[in-house]
Each structure stands twice: as C-alpha cells, then as structure tokens.
C-alpha cells in the first residue's frame, strides 16, 4: 500500500474512531438511528395530518435527508476537531498527501450516511407502509450514495471554515436545519418562495431527494440522470471549495503561526 493510500484508508479510519462522542454503541444508536427514526415518524404524521403530500413524499425526503447528519456533522467534526483537540499542528507538520488526508476522512462518513439512510427507508417500510416501486432499490441506493457524497462535501466545506472560524458547530447546526426547509425534504421546492428555491438549488440534497422520489415512484435511473448529475456536480463544487479553503487556511495558519489560536 502506498503512503497516500495508507493515509487515505488508515488515516480516515483513525479519524472516524476519534469521534469519541459518536462511536460508543449507546451514543451511536440513539443519535444516528433513534433520532432519524423519530424525525421520519414526526414529519410523516405531520404530513398525514396536513394532507399536504402523499406519505411516501415524507418518508423518502426524510430517509435521504438523515444521511446528511453523518456527512455534515461528522465531516465538520472530522476536520474542525483537529483544531479543537490541539492535533492540527502535528498533523500539518507531516508530509502526508493533503488530498489523501482530506478525502480519506470522508469515506467512513459516506458509509455511515448510507447505513442511516437505509435504516430510514426500513423504518418507512416497516412502520409507515412505504413500498418503493419494484426493482427500484439499486437505483435508489445509487441516488442516496451520490447525495450522501455531496452532503459530506458540504460538511468538508464547513469543516474547512472551522480551521479559521471560532464556532463552526453553530454553522453546521444552522446549515443542517436550514436544509430541512429549503431542500424540499418536507415541502415541495416549487411551493417555497423564490429566494428559498434559489438557495435550495445550490446546496446538496435538493436534487438527490427529487431523484429519489422519482425512482421510488418507478422512474428509471436514466430518467433522473440529470438530477443525479446536478447533485454530483454540486457535491464536487463544494469538495473543491473545501479543499481550496483548507489549503488557504493551512498556508495562512503557518504564515501567522495561528493554526490553533481562537
């Protein structure tokens, strides 16, 4: 295994294990599975009462959205915690490949997001009579994978800002909750005011959720390829922005000797 591959895989795995708050079974189950379970139930029951959309609309929207929890919070912590825990300077003093260092951290969160989303869909099937179109599961899995990747890219972006900002977790929380509103999770995006639609169209999730709903209703992967491509492109843009910010803040931190100052 080359040095860069080792940094990518082993470094990413160690970084994930360092999320001490998350990886205890009790904490993982309650936060990563319990909270999404009740989120899906809450919004589906609210949707049932308001009769604003069919129930599957809420099941799919929320089952895809809960994957963002891992991507956004996890990735923000995966980068910004280096500064909080005082390990940023030693890390950046190493000659390790920066892309490997950076991208390797994303892998466990993408896998985690997929697990959480799959759990969300299972909740829909078992508790809410959700039944996706026959044979749609592989396409649905691919759509969720792309969406989870783009959400993780947004988490990278916020995490990179955390190399400079004082309270990046406020931003992570704010972005996560705003996504519930502007990404068409519980309200169809064309029902939102124009300025919310404009925001929703340039952040991850929106196109992914729309594609997932279409696939669950029987559309083929080809039918939603434009939406999936848009989701992937948005994710790529955020990942690129995150990497650029990471390198800028690294260089600036070195020049000003301010890597770990707040």
């Amino acid at each position: 295994m080359t040095a860069a591959a080792r940094v990518f895989f082993v470094g990413g795995a160690i970084s994930y294990r360092a999320l001490f708050n998350w990886i205890r079974p009790g904490m993982y189950v309650t936060t990563m599975l319990g909270s999404p379970l009740f989120q899906i139930l809450f919004f589906t029951y609210l949707g049932r009462y308001t009769a604003s959309e069919p129930e599957s609309f809420f099941v799919v929207g929320n089952a895809v959205q809960v994957a963002a929890m891992s991507g956004i919070y996890g990735m923000t912590m995966g980068i910004a915690n280096e500064r909080q825990f005082g390990t940023l300077s030693p890390l950046l003093a190493t000659p390790a490949s920066r892309p490997a260092l950076f991208l390797g951290r994303a892998l466990p969160f993408i896998a985690n997001g997929l697990v959480v989303s799959a759990f969300g869909f299972a909740v829909g099937v078992l508790l809410l009579d959700f039944s996706p179109a026959a044979g749609s599961v592989p396409a649905l899995a691919l759509v969720v994978l792309v969406t989870t990747c783009s959400c993780t890219a947004l988490g990278m972006f916020i995490g990179s800002i955390g190399l400079r900002a004082r309270d990046v977790f406020f931003a992570a929380n704010l972005v996560y909750f705003l996504m519930l509103l502007v990404c068409g999770v519980n309200v169809a995006i064309d029902r939102l005011p124009g300025w919310m639609q404009a925001i929703g169209n340039v952040v991850p999730l929106t196109h992914g959720i729309e594609a997932a709903r279409d696939v669950a209703n029987g559309s083929s992967l080809g039918d939603v390829s434009g939406l999936v491509a848009a989701e992937a492109f948005i994710g790529l843009a955020y990942a690129t922005g995150a990497y650029v910010l990471f390198r800028i803040f690294e260089a600036e931190g070195r020049r000003r000797a301010s890597l770990e100052t707040f």
């Binding site: 904490m27 009769a51 604003s52 309270d167 704010l174 909750f177 519930l180 309200v187 029902r191």
Partner: protein, 257 residues
C-alpha cells in the same frame, strides 16, 4: 435568602444561556425553521385557518428543546467546568442552586414563542388576536415553570448516565410528537395518550392554545394540570437529587464522569 439565591441564579443562567450560540439556535432559529416548514405544510394542505395553532406549537417545541438540552446536561456542564464540587459543598441546598438553572433553560424557550409569533405574523400573516389575554398571561409562565421543573427531573436522572447528551438527542422529536405540539394526539395510536398526560408540554400547549385561540375551552384546567405536574416533578427531582448527592459523597465520584 432562598428567594435571593433563586432570583440571582435564574438571572445569571438566563444571561449565560442567552449568550450561547447553541441556545440561540435551539430557542430562536430552530423553532422558526420548524414553524416555517409547518406553515407551508398547513397552507398546502388547506389548513390555513390554524396558523396561530402552528405558531404556538412550534414555539413550545423550542421551549422543550432548550429545556431538554439545557437541563439534561446541566450537572454534567458544572462537572466539566469544575464548579460542581463547590456548589455541592456550599451551605445552600443544591436543589436551590439547580432549580434556577433548569427554570432558566425553560425560560429562554420563551424567545421561541415570541420568535415564531413574530415570524408567522410578518411572513405568513398569522393573526395575533388572543382570545383570553389574562389566561394567556398566566398560562405562559406556568408552562415555563412546569417545563423547568421537568428539566429538574431530567437533570437529576440524566446525571447518572455518562451519555446524557445521547438521551437529549433521542428525546427531542418523540416528545414533540406525543405531546400534540403540531400533530393532534387523536392521530396517534391510543397507547400514546396516557403517556402524553404525564408530560408538561401536553398541558402547556393546551393551556396556551385554549387561552389564545377563540372557540377553545377555558385554559384554567390545563393551567391547573401544569401546576400539578410541576409539583410532582419537583418532588421527584428533589428525591433523585438527594440520591445522586448521597451516592456521589459516599463513593467520592462527584467529579468523575
């Protein structure tokens, strides 16, 4: 003396929580976001006549969140900051130190009521014609008190578990759901209703809605239930707190997490 300690403690914690970005998010921004989602859903489902119902429910969601996260982690935070030993060793009863803190966590939730009403008025045209202003003036502080005392019970039980924040994360949505804040209890399975009766947000939101919305029954019975539940939470919280304090002294585990 006790009254002074209570008032000073409440004001101090209210200021501290207000200056915390996390609590501003939980008590102001998050309820506004959830209220907006609910407004859109209600409007789309042609239930626009109930927007005040939604604004008040979303406001109560904020009170519950700030109480849950604030009170659930109250003792743990004192522990991390190294002030728990000092507070326990002080001559004042620990209960008198903790109750102002848990009440403060519920009190900042009032920001969420104001926030969702103002937001709803400006952007969604929510009518702010309150049917029984006097009942509303009583219902609001009584609801905050009952939730604050529920917070005391949370604080005194969560302290026994290392992963208290996990419980907080877990309990936010279910209590929103089973206390009828946005979804009527009649829509949920029958076994949920008796559980909801034991939770102050159920009666708090009923009291506030009965006082605010014309055509509803009098708010006094629901206000009475808030008082009753608050008293029960205080007794239970006091009992759990004594148990925690005794065990921590015996085992010398006060500062250990």
């Amino acid at each position: 003396m006790a009254l002074r300690l209570f008032a000073k403690g409440w004001a101090f914690h209210l200021k501290t929580l207000t200056s915390s970005g996390f609590f501003v998010l939980v008590s102001v921004i998050q309820p506004i976001i959830f209220a907006s989602i609910a407004f859109f859903m209600y409007e789309q489902g042609s239930k626009s006549g109930t927007l005040l119902y939604v604004a008040l429910g979303a406001g109560l969601m904020g009170i519950w969140s700030s109480t849950l996260f604030g009170s659930g982690g109250a003792i743990q935070w004192q522990r991390w900051q190294g002030t728990l030993e000092i507070l326990i060793a002080a001559p004042a009863p620990f209960l008198l130190v903790l109750v102002p803190l848990t009440l403060a966590t519920a009190s900042i939730g009032l920001y969420s009521i104001v926030g969702t009403l103002v937001w709803g008025r400006i952007f969604f045209g929510v009518p702010l014609d309150f049917a029984h202003p006097l009942q509303l003036v009583v219902a609001l502080p009584v609801t905050v008190f009952s939730l604050g005392l529920l917070g005391l019970m949370l604080a005194s039980t969560f302290v026994l578990y290392r992963q208290a924040s996990a419980f907080s994360n877990l309990l936010e949505y279910p209590v929103w759901l089973i206390t009828g804040l946005l979804v009527p209890l009649s829509l949920l399975p029958g076994w949920v209703t008796p559980i909801s009766w034991l939770l102050a947000p159920t009666w708090g939101v009923k009291a506030i809605r009965d006082a605010a919305i014309a055509g509803n029954p009098s708010a006094w019975p629901a206000i009475g239930m808030c008082v009753l539940l608050g008293a029960a939470y205080l007794v239970l919280g006091w009992f759990f707190m004594q148990n925690f304090e005794r065990l921590a002294r015996q085992r010398a585990t006060l500062s250990l997490t």
